[in-house]
Every structure is written in structure tokens, then in C-alpha cells.
Symmetry: C3
Subunit: 348 residues, 3 copies
């Protein structure tokens, strides 16, 4: 009996099945420190316990993208280890924050399957949910990936594609229990601009750039126990599609979010992931820049202290974003690597 | 009076003396997180407190190879800073697990000395023991190293070579106090295969490969406070034997153990180190692969929940292990870098 | 309204104003572990809680240079993000040690301003103070930087240059509350030499060298939330002054201090920073060596257990320090990169 796990191929997925992902993980302040060392993030709520406590939280929560990447990592061995491409995200809701000492586990439900016409691959849609040790939802999101078939002649299931919302509705956004921004200190937070200062259509160039080293993205991705081979194996990838290791897309999201501090320093919480596309691959040596557009504003019912902004953050490589590189129809500017649509919470 | 420590040369060692090693260290969850970021290890018992607690442990212990490397590192300034080569290991027993908050100290006893015929070097045998703050043994093992003489004309002690066992006897393996695998969850652990599923002679290709960057091995080796110059100093090593920095052999053991998860995911504890050989040097840019052979199986007296497997894990560089690269007599396949013989504990 | 922070230019500073720096940070054992992984430091007091407790401290404090770098990092966005050069340090006093769990905040007072004759730049003198969550001073120091003007025609304030001491007076050195070296264990500390063993004029070659990788200095500098662009952005720096990223000078101080363990292993506490000059820039791939001269010795009033040494540590790159590379008048040996003047505490 073979002892190694080859991972699922397209024909191994069954519509409606639940995949229980392995390797529960207890997170600690070390995850926060490593994440900081790898991204340079500066959001005060994730950096200092007293700041977080002044907002009603028990201590500084881990960065939201870090939490996302840990949950995502758990799904890889069961969902995407044989994937050709990560195609998209939708309907992502951030529930309770992730705190040091919490233990993360994750499950995914197969909510859609569609073989591609070439019969070599198919698209798998999963709804993945990461929970803490109390079973509270940390993150619940849909992603779809193109997965290879083991055998192109194998039968495919009846095609099924889930209906996905264009964006999470403001009424579905979760404000963490106890959060109260009455005492939010914008000086300590490092940014003057709150929810009221932003208007739909605003565009913010985040100015700074961050270069990625091979050791950095590999450390980040291993920290998430993400096992996708393309990120780690120079020997095999040197003969692969790009001739070198590919950077995990979630690390680009981490950097874009960290860069967005300069301009969005009070965007203290990612509340939802409406959609996202890894437009082009990134490699060690690339320098990531980013800009953000404000897509929508929403009040939070019954709350005068906090509002929601729907943002679109675009990351580009080796290209400063003062000219807001964008897409034109379906075609993106050649430098764009990430197009992310999400909701944040911000003091009003 | 010179203030810097040159380290011991061969003629400085005395048979029977005890070396008390410097720099006690209190370990934390940060060691676990850094180790994860540097190796990608996925053993559930080391990853999640609730998983470890379901097995009767107080919380997730640090990885066994991490514990070994921390103890090893302490011995370097006193034993091997002037070593030419690390020749072997034997009789290594893992006692109590190492937990976050524990403080590690180490001592070594000189148990053998033999000058080489060229009078330039000699072999030093030490039994090193790492203990926690309660004096409980974490790891107790023998290693032997070839150490330079300061002065080739210096007198050598009478030759003395210890008798070392070929392997640790199963009766000497330590099952951590309180460990009870009745509730061991193989789904969360990420592997279906327990002790009963393995047979002597089985060979497992661990499939995955992990490339090592200069920053990664140096960070790991500094974390262990290992001071061997060959790992850190590009300037001097560029004029040295290999023209570049050499990767600490213990980091290769770490990677081989982490890779072995794919196939041996339930090998939750290293119980003994029977022997080990660093067959060839590794350098930044190398990609490590590994395979494992099952050498023996042993029951643990009075235990129906846990058994021991004696394993031989062979690591190779830039060579996938589907063909199980091995040795032929005394000669190894050119790609092999590590040949490690050890006992693990596994749920039956 | 532009949302991104451009940082202050020379004409934006006002004499006497106080800058409240952003991003408070709660430090943890992870900072200690990362710092260890990035520097290889071996001072026992920072490495093991029981060792620190045997000296009357509540647990192992974080490394003093780590504390300095965290405070320094906070000042960058407000003081030096538009700086051309970091010119000097003076009058730095280390107060209470920084412990895991503490939260660091920082403020700076503008104590001097002087436009340069070319009117393109000016020198800004600030006194920066980092405090813990109880408002106790961790570090209080002066630095001066050359900052660009936004507009060379802009009016400059009346020139004002503070009077700075050549060195901190021994009477102003702070011995941490409760520190008692009666039980200091030199074997565990790894060095035999105490305060009594050193004489003014002694010179110590620290022997070892440490090579810096791009990922390493960038991780260290991000951990300090230092936002100076020159350390992180290969894309822009490839067109800049050096054609590549510049290593943060504080990382060189970290490495020089870590290297100084070999010879100064009992220098358990940095008590003051008298002055410092980053003589030449460092880049990834450089190997740092260091030597130290003893400038002065001072008794601590009423204390028989601890004394102070005034040290000058000189770091050089790609040049072992057996020949003590130094300065000749105003000109430094070509290999020198750092000249640091500071007080340490040491058991007598």
C-alpha cells in the first residue's frame, strides 16, 4: 500500500462531499512577529495589545490576511496540490478575529465541478471554512481552482457551477464582538483619514515598494503549511512552466495589504473578500507596488463609530502605481499581478 | 590575556572530562514557528495544543529534531568549532519532550580520543546530554568528530575508542509520560497509516523536494546558537574547501524529517537516533528529497496503542527519490547527502 | 485630500515640537527568537529566563540593540523617511530593560535644525524616547540626520545646534532595578573575563564573521517597522545611489554586538550609547567582522558586583579584524563600516 498522499485529481472530487483538512495549528505571537518580519505591516490593532484593548478586543488579533493564509494552507493538500491554477475567490466572510493561542482547523465542501472541454482538467469549487477551537468561524470563503485529471478518459461528474454573489452584502459583514472605535487613536494608528474622508471613486497610490526574496516567500508559505510544490522546489520548477519557483498568491495579498497601510492606515479590519484574481505570476526579485480604489461605502447598522469601505486593491510588479495601472476590458496592464475586491472596516 | 575563545583543539581534550556548555536557552512558541517557517513540518502533535492534549501531553512539544539541534548547537563551541568533519552519531535517546517555556542546558563527557596517523587531527567521542530546567534528560547521544590539532607535534592521549551499539534496543526507548494514543485522530493528523500498516523492508518515497536558501539555513543554525564558522562566513569560505558556505547537517536532518511527513505522517515522535552519516555536503540552492526504509518493528511492552519503527531515512540532493538512491557497499549514490537510522513511535 | 504620508521634509520641522510616533508594538518572545535567528547573539541574560532570574530580573530581557532598533524604527516615518543620511548618535541612555509582553511607544523632540549651505538639505537633531506601557523610559537618545528640503527656496528656521556630550557620564548610567550579579555564572555565560580583567587600551578581535543576506536584513528591518525605502525596494534602488538596497545601519550594530560576544561575553547590558557613525554603507553579501577597544572603566557607586566599561566597537566588511582596522585622523580604513562608542555593564 502506497503511503504517500498524491492529492486529489479532478475525478476524485464528489459534489457535496466535505473534506476535513489535516494539521490543526495553534497560533502564537510568533506568527504575528514572523508575519511582520516578512511583510512589514503596520496596522496598530494587530501590533499592540493595549491599542486593541482600547477598542474592546481582548488583545491584538493576528493580521486578517495571515489568518486567511493559514486557513488556505490547510486546504491545499486536499484541494489544490494538483491544481494548474487558482482561478478565483468569492463570498468570503471574516468572522471572529484570530488570536494568539487559538487553534485553527478547516473543512471544505465541494460546491461545484465542471470538466474542461479538453478533458485534461476541470474546475473545482469549494467553500472552505476555518474555525477556532470553539468552532467559531474565522473565515468562510469560496474559491475555485483548475485541477488536473489523473486520467483524461475518466468520467466526469455532471457539470455544476455555483451561483456566487458579485460582492458580500454590507448587511452580512461581521463587526467583531465588543469592537468599539470611540477611543480609536489616529495619531498612534499613524493615519488621519477615516471612513468619512473617503469617497467612492477615490484612488490611492500606496507609493512604497517591497521586493520579495526567495527565502521570504518560502518562509511565509511554509508557515501556512501550504504544500504546493511550485513554491518550494527549485529543482523541479527549473524544468517547469516558468523555469523557477512561483510565489504563493496569498503572499502577494499580504504585501499588497501591508503596503496599503500608507493611505489606508485606519482600515483596521478586513471584513469580506468579494473577489480576487492573481492576474500574473510573481517570482523572487520582483518588487510589489499597489494602489487602491474605493468602490463603495456602507454604513453599519446602528453604528456611528465604524463604517465599511469596499476597496479594490491592485498590485503591480516593478512598476510604481502613481499611474494606477488597471485593466482595459479583459486585458490588464502588463505590470498588474493582483486584483482584489474586499470590504474593510474603518473608524468614521 | 586574550579574551576570545579559540575553541578546543584535539590535544586540549581529556578523556573522562565533562564539558559544561554555555548559553542556556529558554525556548518558546517562536522556536516552533520559526522551525515551521524554515522546514514546513506538518506533524500534528507539534502543531496544535489540543491535538497534543488529546494524547495526554500538556501542550504541543517542540519538534524532536529542533530539540536535538538546540542541544547540538550548545556543544559546538566546546567540541567542534575546530572540527574538520562530523563523523557520526550513536546511542541517541530522546527522553522527555521539549515544551515552550523550558530552558535547555547541555553537558558533554569525553568518552573517546584517538589521534589520526597523520598527527594533524584526531577523533573525539563525546556523550552529550541536554536537559530541561528540572534536570530531566531531553536528549542523550554520542557523536564523534575529527578535530584539528593546534600543534601536530603535541602529545596525544592514549587511544581510546568507545564501544557503541549498532542501534538503541527497543526496551530502552522512552514513551513520554502520559502519552496515550487511544484518541489519536488520523484524519486531523493527515495520514491513514499506522504502525500495523508498515512492514520491514517497506520503502517510501517522500516525493516532495525542498530547496534551501542561504538565509534559511543560516537563520536555522543561528537559532540553535551553533557557532561553526563554515555556515555563516561567505568571505572566509570563499577561500575555503568548497568555495562557499556549507549547510549545517542538522538542517538537512530537519528537512528530511519534515519531508518524511508525506508517508510517515503518524510518526509522531523520534524516540532514538541509532546512527547517522552526513554523506556529502549541501549548499544553498540544493533541493533536498528523501526516502525511508523500514528496518525493524518493535512492540512497546504493555502498550497496545503505540509501536516503534526503526527507520532509515536517506536524503538526496537535486535527485527525486522514486528510484531510492542508496549505497552499494561503502559507496553511496552520488546524490545522497544523509543516511539516518532512528526509531519513531507511531499509533498502532 | 491625499491619503498617503509623504514624510516630513526639512522645512516641515519646527524647533521644540514633539513628534508622537505611530504604531505602538507589543513585543514577545518571538522578537527574541527572530533576533537570535538573524544575528546569532549568545548573551546568556537575553537567552534564558532562569539565568536572568538568578540576576534578579523577572525574566530574560530582550536584547538591548533589538530594543534600540524597535524604538528607532518608530521614529523613521516622522523623522528620516526623507533623509539622505543618518549622521550620528549621542547621549543615549538605556533605562528599564524591555521584556516580552511590554508595549513600546516612542516620541521625539526636535532639538536642533540647521540648513546646509547648498539649501538642498538640512540637519535635523531629535531626542527620541521609547517607553513601555508604564511610561518607563527604555531608551532616550539623540540622533541627527540630513533631510532633504521639499523646496530648496523654502525658508529655513534660525540655525540651532544642540550641545551634546562627548560621552554619557558614568554617574548617569542606569543599573536595572533588582540587578544583582553576586550569583552570575561565568561558565553558563560562556566567558571567563569580567570587568576586572579588562584594562583601558585593551583591544579585542572578535574573530568571527557573519555574512548578511538580502532576506535577513530586510526581515530584521521590517520587524522594527522601519519604513526607510532604501532597505526594501530593489526596483527603485537599482536606479539609485548604490544600484542596490542598502542595509539598515542598526542591523550592522546588531551584528557587531552579537559578534562581540566572543571576547565580551559578560557584557550583559548596554547602558549607554555615547556616539556612533555609520562610516560606509553595507550591502547583501557583505561579511561583517568586528573588534573592540576599551576606552574607559568606571565603578558604579555603591556596587561591588558590577562595573562599567566604555567600549569602542569597530565593524569592518570583508576584512577580518586581527589588524584592528581603524581611522587615521578623519580617514577610516577602507573596510570600516561602523564606529560605535558605548558603555556596557559587566560583572566585576
Amino acid at each position: 500500500m502506497a503511503k504517500t498522499e498524491p492529492g486529489r485529481f479532478f475525478e476524485d472530487f464528489r459534489f457535496g462531499e466535505t473534506l476535513v483538512h489535516a494539521t490543526p495549528r495553534t497560533v502564537s505571537e510568533a506568527d504575528a512577529a514572523l508575519y511582520l518580519a516578512l511583510t512589514g505591516t503596520r496596522f496598530a490593532v494587530n501590533s499592540a495589545d493595549p491599542f486593541a484593548q482600547s477598542l474592546g478586543l481582548k488583545r491584538a488579533p493576528l493580521d486578517d490576511v495571515l489568518a486567511f493564509n493559514i486557513v488556505f494552507g490547510k486546504t491545499v493538500p486536499d484541494v489544490s496540490v494538483n491544481a494548474v491554477a487558482n482561478l478565483g475567490y468569492a463570498a468570503g466572510i471574516f468572522g471572529v478575529p484570530l488570536f494568539s493561542g487559538d487553534t485553527v482547523t478547516a473543512r471544505s465542501e465541494v460546491i461545484g465541478l465542471r470538466e474542461n472541454s479538453n478533458r485534461q482538467t476541470g474546475t473545482v469549487y469549494v467553500r472552505s471554512r476555518g474555525v477556532n477551537q470553539r468552532g467559531e468561524t474565522l473565515i468562510d470563503y469560496v474559491r475555485w481552482v483548475m485541477v488536473r485529471k489523473r486520467d483524461s478518459a475518466a468520467d466526469a461528474p455532471a457539470p455544476s457551477v455555483p451561483k456566487l454573489p458579485e460582492a458580500v452584502a454590507p448587511a452580512d459583514l461581521v463587526v467583531p464582538a465588543g469592537l468599539d472605535l470611540a477611543r480609536y487613536d489616529r495619531v498612534l494608528a499613524g493615519s488621519r483619514h477615516g471612513w468619512s474622508d473617503f469617497a467612492v471613486g477615490d484612488r490611492i497610490d500606496h507609493v512604497d515598494g517591497m521586493t520579495i526574496e526567495e527565502a521570504e516567500h518560502a518562509m511565509a508559505t511554509r508557515l501556512y503549511q501550504n504544500t504546493a510544490k511550485v513554491h518550494f522546489n527549485r529543482h523541479s520548477e527549473s524544468k517547469g512552466r516558468f523555469g523557477k519557483r512561483l510565489i504563493y498568491g496569498g503572499h502577494i495579498i499580504s504585501l499588497a495589504r501591508a503596503l496599503s497601510f500608507n493611505g489606508l492606515g485606519n482600515a483596521l479590519r478586513i471584513a469580506a473578500l468579494n473577489g480576487g484574481r492573481h492576474v500574473a505570476p510573481c517570482f523572487a526579485g520582483d518588487t510589489i507596488y499597489a494602489w487602491t480604489g474605493v468602490l463603495a461605502k456602507a454604513e453599519i447598522a446602528g453604528r456611528g463609530d465604524v463604517g465599511a469601505l469596499r476597496l479594490r486593491t491592485v498590485a503591480a510588479k516593478d512598476h510604481p502605481c502613481a499611474d494606477f495601472p488597471d485593466k482595459d476590458g479583459d486585458a490588464y496592464h502588463a505590470a498588474v499581478v493582483l486584483d482584489l475586491d474586499y470590504w474593510v472596516l474603518m473608524p468614521r
